[in-house]
Structures are given as structure tokens and as C-alpha cells.
Amino acid sequence: MSKAFIAVAGAALIALGASGLAWSGHDDDDHDRKGHREGKGLMARGDLAAVTNALYRTECGGCHFAYQPGLLPAASWVQVMGTLDNHFGDDATLDQALSDELLAYLEANAADRNDRVRSRAFAARPIQGEGPPRITRTAYFQRKHDEVPVRYVKDNPKVGSFSNCQACHRGADTGDFNEHQVNIPGVGRFED
């Protein structure tokens, strides 16, 4: 093994390591916004930041799981909040002031506005399909759930649909979606 090879290999590894550290240390959207500013990626615990806005939890967690803002990019939240009169088949209208406040919280903590790797992944690819943006139609969601048999979810009365996160992700409400904690009701633990 020649010295030149070792030298090149050493330089290459340093470059890779350094590029990784540089990539992780990116610092975007650091300015102060209404709504809670997320912590840096290194210190973040859990996959997604938990919902911190009590209003969001009441208004948007009343009919379905309170989806963390980090599950969609900011532009998608704008779309969702702009079509509340036809919110996936339901009327979820809110008065304008409340709607504006909630949108500010959602945008500030959206997938493309925080540092957590597993949150940013939701914003990495554009969402396919027509109509309002669905978390379950993001490329990242589909990649993570493509080995889950449909019968465990859609044909499972205790789950019903992939939108029902906390049925299987028992820590979903705190932002913990780790696959090691998945427990599908009627089936048991599931890891792929």
C-alpha cells in the first residue's frame, strides 16, 4: 500500500467528516419569530419537537392527532390553513385572528424551518398528488412505512388509517416516532 494512497485516503476521510460536520451545523432561520424557536439539532431529543402551542393543541387536536408542525414544510401549512373550509372533507373554519396566530406557529416550526434531521426529511422532497398536502403522502413518510402491511393499518379497527399516528407510535404525542417504540394494536412490536 503506497504512501500516496494512504495520503489520499486520509484527505478524503477528513473531507467527508468535515463536510458532514459542516452540513449538520447549518444555521438557518435564526431570527426571532412569533412561535417557539427550536433548539439546535445536536441537542434535540426525539425525532420531532413536541407541540408547544396550547391553542394549536385545542383547535387542531380536537378531531385528530395534533400533528407536529415539523411534519410538513411551511408552504404546505400555508395551504392547509388557507383551505380550512374544506379540510380533507370537513369544515374546520376558524376566525381570522386565530387562524393567523396558528399559521405563524406552524410556519416557525415547520419541517424546513428547524434542525432536527427527521423533521427536515419531511421537507426534502416535494409532496406528490393533487389536493391539500397530506403528511402521509410525503416521500419520507412513504419511505418509512412502505414495509408496513396494509392489513395492520387500514383493515385494523384499532388503527384505521396511516393518519392515526398515535395508534401505533405510542410516544407520538411527545414527538417520539422511533421504530423501536412502535406497537401496533392487535399485532405487537414492529421493526423493519
Partner: protein
């Protein structure tokens, strides 16, 4: 003057019952609002009938009714038709929080009437619903 104990007792009971009859029931402030909007008198029976009425949506989809999410027995919890999320009972007798927040009541009337009937409920319809919910 010799007042018999029994008389005092009867008076006390009478006053007690009387004040109970004239005290406000939860949701009466809503009734007053609807009366000021020109509606009334309201009837729990009319509310009960409207509760189970079915409505066809514009465009594709199943028939809609209050029953789909809230059920026919308002003293029991309901369930959101799409998400399955449990809904606390609507009857005041089963859930003392109901009808106490006018803003919340108007918000849900707005959304749910538009979804179920395809339009906002009239003050008359709202008042009938309130009476129905109070009566259970």
C-alpha cells in the same frame, strides 16, 4: 304570634323550589341571543327531530347527519367519523362543560352546520338544538 314549624318548613321548600325554577339553566344565555335575533319560541322536540335528519352533500359523498359523529344518545361519547377520535358527550347532564362557552358553541355550530346541512343554521334551528341538548 305562634308560627308552626311546619309552616316554616313548607315556606322554605317552596322558596327553594321556586328559586330553582327561575334560576338560569346552562345555555340560557345562548337562547337569549337567538331570541334577540328574532327567533323563538324554541322546542327540544324540534331539535331532536332535526338531530337525526339526513342531508345529501353537494358533490359526491354519503348522507350527512349530526348522528354520524355525535351519535343518537348524547349522554354517551361520540366518535369523529373520519379520524375515529372520541368526542365527549354533548348532553349537559353528562358533561357540565357543554354550552358554557358561547364562542365555542358558535364555532362548532358554524363548522358542523355548514358540513351537515351545507349552510349555516338559522337562530331558530340553533335554539332548538340548544333546548334539545339541555333537555337530556
Amino acid at each position: 304570634m305562634n308560627v308552626k314549624p311546619m309552616t316554616v318548613f313548607a315556606l322554605a321548600v317552596g322558596l327553594g323550589l321556586g328559586t330553582h325554577l327561575v334560576s338560569a339553566a346552562t345555555g340560557d344565555d345562548l337562547i337569549t341571543t337567538y331570541q334577540r335575533q328574532g327567533a323563538g319560541p324554541f322546542s327540544a322536540a324540534a331539535g331532536a327531530r332535526a338531530w337525526t335528519a339526513k342531508h345529501l352533500p353537494e358533490g359526491p359523498g354519503e348522507q350527512r347527519s349530526c348522528v354520524i359523529c355525535h351519535g343518537t344518545d348524547l349522554t354517551k361519547p361520540g366518535k369523529h367519523a373520519t379520524t375515529g377520535k372520541p368526542i365527549e358527550p354533548l348532553a349537559v347532564s353528562a358533561n357540565s362543560e357543554r354550552l358554557t362557552d358561547p364562542a365555542k358553541v358558535e364555532k362548532w355550530f358554524g363548522r358542523n352546520c355548514r358540513w351537515t346541512l351545507g349552510r349555516d343554521c338559522t337562530p331558530q334551528e340553533k335554539g332548538d338544538f340548544v333546548r334539545y341538548i339541555q333537555s337530556l
